[in-house]
Amino acid sequence: MRKQWKFLLALVAAFGLFAAACGSDGDDAADGGGDSEAAADGIGADKTVGLTFDLLGRGDQSFNDSAAAGTDKAKADFGVTVNEITPTDASARAGDLQLQAENSDLVVGVGFSFAQAAAEVAAENPDVKFAVVDDSMMNFDTGEPLAPNAAGLVFAEEQGSYLVGVAAGLKTETNVIGFIGGVSGIGLIEKFEAGFVAGVQSVNPDAEVKVDYISEFPDFAGFESPDRGKEIASAMYGEGADIIYAAAGLSGSGMFQAAADHTAAEGSKVWGIGVDSDQYNTVDPSVQEYVLTSMLKRVDNAVYNITEDVLKDNFVPGEVRYDLAAGGVDYSTTGGFIDDITGEIDEAKQAIIDGEIEVPTAP
């Protein structure tokens, strides 16, 4: 009897954990496959872009969706065909890039995790161009690109975060502000934190910024855990924060939910700040009124531009840096909640572009 019980437990646990371990609920990842509605006179009519998503795939309301918006636009403007693939797990990355390379003129890897695989696959497919979002694709020892046919699209997230930090610093009434990072220890989200804190302090030195990360490397759950994002946000609102900036991928949606709940319970309005996409447009409509602004990381622009470069034979390997000056990062005004302070934010923006303000990249 005891043995049977144990076996049943083993089975249930094994299947549950197994499904969880390899689960990636990429919404409708398959729907991009094999599209061929090419605009007949577009310069990309006979060209194909292989868009390879990070593990969550299309529908994460932020990072991947922003990249997808870029190829959607390229499809409309140039008539290129877009093949979308979401790797089912981490070890599928190299194989999926190779699969894309066989059918594409440009292969885009959305996320720094693709860097090493892309460098290898690029070497094997010299006729195909590669681009990786969030990795410079440079060999820092030699200063040369990792591969002559691979570009790295990197962003000055700290500059965009600085701007939404200015907005938070000006808008806060309690002088308590929160920052929720997805995963610490990779060195990426720390850039968001550093810029945000600097932005808050530049306009409101009295404000306190509470910082918390959902998970630590090597645990990547922090980018896909709306429940934990909500818990941390609820705690921060409970401690008096009235604005929180979440740089945590899908987990950020939990923060907006927490803002709605807290506002309903306490009667005083609290806000969340979105990241990567203009989250006013991507969140559930019921929580739209809590999206103060969003730090825009224009992955869509970067993906669109690199597609255009490939189509027009302007491709250059190595790092392509998207900062404020290049329109790579920005802040959103959708919803009109910060219309009264856009003047001050734009001043800061101009100061950064002119080099008068140096935004820190590490906390």
Binding site: K3, K6, F7, L9, A10, L11, A13, A14, F15, L17, F18, A19, A20, A21, C22, D25, G26, A29, A30, D31, G33, G34, N83, I85, T86, P87, T88, D89, A90, S91, A92, R93, G95, Q98, L99, F112, S113, A115, Q116, A117, E120, V121, A123, E124, N125, D134, D135, F140, G185, I186, G187, L188, E190, E216, F217, P218, D219, F220, T361, A362
Partner: protein, 368 residues
């Protein structure tokens, strides 16, 4: 003789029946969501049988097999080692740090990395065994807790100290010198086929085969293995037979953990040569499924690992052809596992009934 053939065919019938059932059920799911199952499975077969994808499959099956063997060692002793996940990640991390810090000549360097990984995995797993025999902590709870401590605690706390280079994305521990890299088996495969493009068949495949043989010899052909199986089947009887139950628990957990320590080595010594965010998580849990499907048998687990690896490595094509959602693979794996357990149980009942009948016949014959 006839009986032996019959029991062998029964043993084979169970996995085949469950496979067939799983395919039918998955096909049904595909039809329900409006895809053509024949086209989808055909795409997977066509893509999965390319040489490069076969290499991918073998590279995936290797850690799955090691993880399956690690779980199987525990199962044989009626221990549920759910901690393979934490054991292999911690082993990989420590082995990466040690391998990166030292430079030994040639083969010794590689050997050191593998041995360190096995020791770390064994110790971490043995800890759960110790907790069980000294404090009565159920090994399921113990190993789950140790998973959290290993991944969320130890690695997360130490990774900053051993990080190579300043703050930059995608950096891990120091790159291991080339003497600590596992040679690949491409030359061997290419002698029979053609040039392999952009893939390296990991030499860990050989290690996995050796582990499988060692597992078979230890469990089925040694005094120790007999004691282990006896303790698993009936601890009281084993104890009366002079087998120290507490020691067996700890030793079984240590061996299971040592096998677990090798799971991450495909990534470490054959692929990335450092511990960074490229490595594959989740192999520990997948191994439990593979061990169950393979009935803890060294060859059975190998087939299970190959089957799961085939489905994983061939499913990407579905996103390109659009013939089905690649998530169908996860459904299939779950259904295969469920149907396998059900058919195994069914076959078990048939066998028991027959044995009773035979025994009754034998006694009746003797009496007459």
């Amino acid at each position: 003789m006839n009986n032996r053939m019959r029991s062998a065919s029964l043993a084979l019938a169970a996995p085949l029946a469950s496979l067939l059932l799983a395919f039918l059920l998955s096909a049904l799911v595909l039809v329900l969501v409006g895809s053509n199952p024949l086209v989808a499975f055909g795409d997977m077969l066509e893509y999965g049988s390319r040489l490069e994808i076969v290499i991918d499959m073998l590279n995936r099956a290797t850690p799955l097999y090691l993880s399956g063997i690690a779980a199987a060692i525990g199962f044989r002793m009626n221990l549920f080692n759910i901690g393979v996940e934490g054991q292999y990640q911690l082993a990989m991390f420590v082995a990466a740090v040690v391998g990166g810090a030292l430079a030994l000549p040639g083969f010794l360097h590689l050997l050191l990395i593998l041995v360190v990984a096995m020791i770390v995995g064994g110790l971490w797993s043995g800890l759960a065994g110790l907790l069980k025999v000294t404090r009565g902590v159920n090994e399921v709870i113990g190993t789950i807790m140790l998973n959290f401590i290993a991944i969320g605690g130890i690695i997360a706390a130490l990774i900053g100290r051993f990080r190579d280079g300043e703050i930059s994305t995608n950096s891990g521990t120091k790159l291991i010198a080339e003497s600590g890299w596992m040679p690949n088996l491409n030359g061997f495969v290419e002698a029979f086929t053609r040039d392999i493009k952009g893939r390296q068949l990991s030499g860990m495949l050989v290690v996995a085969v050796l582990v499988g043989i060692a597992y078979h010899l230890t469990i089925n052909r040694s005094r120790f293995g007999f004691d282990l199986r006896a303790s698993g089947l009936n601890p009281m009887a084993a104890r009366s037979g002079g087998v120290p139950p507490k020691r067996m628990v700890v030793v079984a957990m240590v061996l299971s953990g040592a096998a677990a320590g090798l799971v991450g080595m495909v990534d470490l010594v054959s692929r990335y040569h450092r511990y960074d965010n490229n490595f594959s998580p989740g192999l520990g849990f997948a191994g439990i499924a593979v061990a169950l499907l393979g009935r803890h048998h060294p060859v059975g687990v190998a087939f299970a690992a190959l089957l799961f690896a085939f489905m994983d490595s061939s499913s990407s094509i579905l996103q390109v052809t659009g013939s089905a959602s690649p998530e169908i693979v996860i459904i299939m794996q779950g259904v295969i596992l469920l149907t396998a357990v059900i058919t195994y149980e069914y076959v078990n009942q048939i066998r028991q009934r027959e044995e009773t009948k035979m025994a009754a016949l034998a006694t009746a014959g003797g009496a007459a």
